[in-house]
């Protein structure tokens, strides 16, 4: 299977590559339009800041390429946020694949620390990348901005308020959490994505 990881200025992707390698696939890291279009599946990872990353994607034409992809695409963390319409982080317009904004967590009580960091449970649709999920499972989150619950929510979690842990629409899948850092549960999610 031909898996492409979108190469751009955000974060390290070694963990994503490591997780895929452990599942028996060797991904290519590329920002080449032809290679991305040709891939069986595309992963759009991300650790970084939204507005500077969007600027980079636009400057390299990757915004248009990602939006137009027809094969299954998985956005991770910042990747999910950039697939939305707009982000409060750096007040930037994003790719607009999901017509929902990205908002900053507003702590309500003192115990509400931001970033939301650590293992939290998700409740899923049990479909798509969550095939076979029948009960809440722990996955690893690190983020300060969130996607509200919306019509494309495929998994939700609760921290400060209920929010979207995963989105799905057509060929686009996304997770706010890091499946590549979520132990065996994360491996199941990545395996499901590879099996779509």
């Amino acid at each position: 299977m031909n898996i492409a990881i979108v190469k751009y200025n955000a974060g390290n992707v070694r963990s994503v590559i490591g997780a895929l390698t452990r599942l028996g696939v060797t991904p290519v890291l590329t920002d080449n339009e032809e290679e991305l279009r040709r891939a069986d599946k595309v992963i759009f990872p991300g650790v970084g800041e939204a507005s500077t990353t969007m600027e980079y994607l636009r400057a390299h034409g990757l915004d248009r390429i990602i939006k137009d992809l027809k094969q299954p695409v998985l956005g991770i963390c910042l990747g999910q946020q950039l697939m939305c319409s707009h982000s409060e982080e750096g007040n930037t317009d994003c790719l607009g694949i999901f017509d929902v904004p990205v908002l900053k967590f507003q702590p309500q009580r003192h115990e509400d620390k931001v970033p939301h960091m650590g293992w939290n449970t998700i409740e899923t649709t049990g479909d798509g990348i969550f095939k076979g999920f029948t009960k809440p499972e722990f996955v690893y989150f690190v983020h300060s901005f969130y996607v509200p619950v919306c019509e494309w929510t495929a998994a939700r979690t609760e921290y400060i308020l209920p929010f979207t842990a995963s989105l799905h629409k057509d060929n686009f899948y996304a997770t706010q959490f890091h499946p590549e850092k979520s132990g065996p549960t994360g491996e199941r999610i990545l395996k499901n994505f590879l099996d779509i």
Binding site: G11, N12, R14, S15, G18, A19, T21, R22, V47, G48, E49, P107, H110, K113, V114, P115, H116, M117, G118, W119, N120, T121, F138, Y140, V142, H143, S144, E158, Y159, H178, E180, K181, S182, G183, P184, G186, E187
Partner: protein
Amino acid sequence: MLAKRIIPCLDIRDGRTVKGTNFVNLRDAGDPVELGRLYSQQGADELVFLDITASFEGRKTFTELVERIAANISIPFTVGGGIHELKDVERLLNAGADKVSVNSAAIKNPDLINQIALNFGSQVCVAAIDAKQMPEGWRCFLNGGRVPTDRMLFEWAHEAQERGAGEILFTSMDHDGVKQGFANDALRKLSDELSIPVIASGGAGAKEHFRDTFIEGHADAALAASVFHFGEIPIPELKQYLCGLNIPIRL
């Protein structure tokens, strides 16, 4: 519900795990990748690898080790030790570390925290603080507790947060290695005053100590080394115990 985290810490010298008692005596406890993978399978929520090697060659060995960890372990891990400037951070993040912890270098050059947060995000920056209770209050120490500084724990923790640290890892020098429990009064004050997560370190000797640091110390995570390395507290047993007390724990 967000779980309280259990974090084994592995001290690394020349690519091997070591652990000191009160930071002095070192005992060998095996290959870091094997040990890390074992902890991950047992239910550790994160891992910390601290490089205590002094030499340039040792740094290279450690960077290669970080690459092996990232390739083999599917839970988050923090690396620390020997981080003096931004390019050390970049090297370790590129090797696959999720977070870096800065200690002495941040006290000597606090702007390092701002630079890390600005370049890589607050979530990768763990401010590690070693402190000891003195007549005048909790004082921060450098170099594994040998050198006193003019910084006090609470003001420095606040400053680290303002500068962009994403977490505070507080080690009580008075409690470390003694196995009589964590410094819960200081931890509670830190956790209640700060808006970022606080990791308790130093003093774990029994399962009850973890309960106490979560309930009384308000810690978001608890770190320990020798009780895990030498099998004194098996992680699955610890997590079952905490879960039974209705502390939010990932099983």
